[in-house]
């Protein structure tokens, strides 16, 4: 499978993050691992780009970030766990629908 990287991912990252958070809350590093395993190693993402995307989603009220409490945190800096909000779930459903439509229309043209 060819690698998908940089500009090809831009614009889809936020939807992919919402999608992997549907499986349950996760901190940044875990979100990346989920993305990598879902992408079967073909996603080549500059890891830092995840955090601006998370902050944008949080600002828009689509995800909610909560610092790990001391008990569950391991040694070192605290991690921030993100989970989908109700608005995030609605937005994910809307983006999925939009994506299916996009693939159906563009796919027909490209595959023709």
């Amino acid at each position: 499978m060819n690698n998908i990287c940089g500009d090809e991912l831009r614009g889809h990252l936020e939807t992919m993050v919402l999608s992997v958070l549907e499986r349950g809350e996760a901190h940044g590093y875990e979100i990346l691992q989920r993305l990598e395993s879902a992408g079967c190693g073909a996603l080549k993402l500059k890891e830092g780009t995840l955090y601006p995307a998370l902050y944008r989603l949080e600002e828009a009220g689509l995800v909610k970030g909560v610092w790990e409490s001391g008990a569950e945190s391991r040694r070192g800096p605290r991690r921030r766990n993100y989970r989908l909000t109700a608005a995030g779930k609605r937005e994910l459903a809307r983006r999925r629908e939009s994506w299916r439509n996009f693939v159906a229309v563009i796919g027909r043209i490209v595959e023709a």
């Binding site: 901190h27 940044g28 590093y29 890891e47 830092g48 780009t49 955090y51 601006p52 600002e59 070192g76």
Partner: protein, 269 residues
């Protein structure tokens, strides 16, 4: 793992955002890099290689910084423009090698004298240009106001000098220094003590002076307190000053914690 911390600071330090937002970015990025490096070490990489790879995979600092900056609301960005005086304020309670307490106190007092002088100038302009919004009962003659203003200024300058001098001699200065080692709560407490002492030393001679030269007039600082404004807000202003000293102490405690964690890192970019 220090290089991870330095890399995070290289990305986040120049971002124009509140300290709270920047600390959130710092903690998250550092947690990410550390987890990544630990994962690479578990696969057999040595620490230096693991850290270098973790940094490389995070992406270039300039691009990431720009992306993070773009997530900060415009108003916050504007409010967090870097102050040219920031490096100076960071080291406000630091002394040069071999500097005497007298020199330290004189230099800091001259800064204070300039700042208070500017404030008094603005206050006098407002007072005598008719912009002062409160009616002054038994408004004092201008000569009396000028004497009061001069004495108040002198009192502020002398009290500042005394406070700075004794702060240095007694070791309070070092306790207040943001960059010197020491527990953060001690630094906050020391600054609170210093500011309270300065406020008391500033106000007490002025009140005494007013009482001596004009016992019938309870005015302080250019008859402001003897008018309607003073009756309404005089005690409130004093309380605000004291509360401000406590808040400054708490802010210093927080600032020192941040300095110890991040500000003391040497970042060359």
């Amino acid at each position: 793992m220090d290089q991870l911390r330095v890399h995070v600071e290289r990305i986040v330090r120049p971002i124009r955002a509140t300290a709270g937002r920047k600390n959130k970015m710092r903690e998250e990025l550092l947690a990410h890099l550390m987890q990544k490096a630990e994962a690479l070490m578990a696969k057999g990489a040595d620490e230096a290689t693991a850290c270098a790879q973790a940094i490389e995979q995070l992406g270039g600092p300039a691009a990431l910084r720009a992306d993070l900056q773009a997530t900060v609301p415009a108003l916050e960005r504007l409010a967090c423009l870097p102050l040219p005086a920031s490096p100076f304020l960071d080291r406000y309670f630091e002394k040069d090698e071999g500097e005497t307490p007298l020199h330290f106190a004189l230099v800091r007092t001259s800064h204070m004298a300039l700042a208070i002088g500017a404030i008094l100038l603005v206050a006098a302009t407002v007072r005598w240009s008719g912009l002062f919004p409160f009616r002054q009962r038994n408004a004092n003659p201008r000569a009396y106001c000028l004497i009061m203003m001069s004495f108040s200024y002198l009192s502020v300058v002398v009290s500042s000098f005394v406070c700075y001098y004794f702060a240095d001699v007694t070791g309070l200065r070092r306790l207040m220094s943001k960059v010197a080692p020491g527990p953060a709560w001690v630094k906050g407490g020391a600054l609170c003590l210093f500011m309270t002492a300065e406020i008391v030393l500033m106000i007490a001679p002025i009140m005494l002076f007013v009482w001596i030269i004009n016992p019938a007039d309870g005015g302080i600082l250019v008859d402001v307190f003897s008018g309607e404004f003073g009756r309404r807000f005089g005690i409130g202003i004093l309380l605000v000053l004291l509360v401000a000293s406590v808040i400054s102490g708490l802010a210093m405690k927080y600032e020192h914690e941040q300095w110890r964690k991040w500000g003391s890192l040497h970042v060359d970019d």
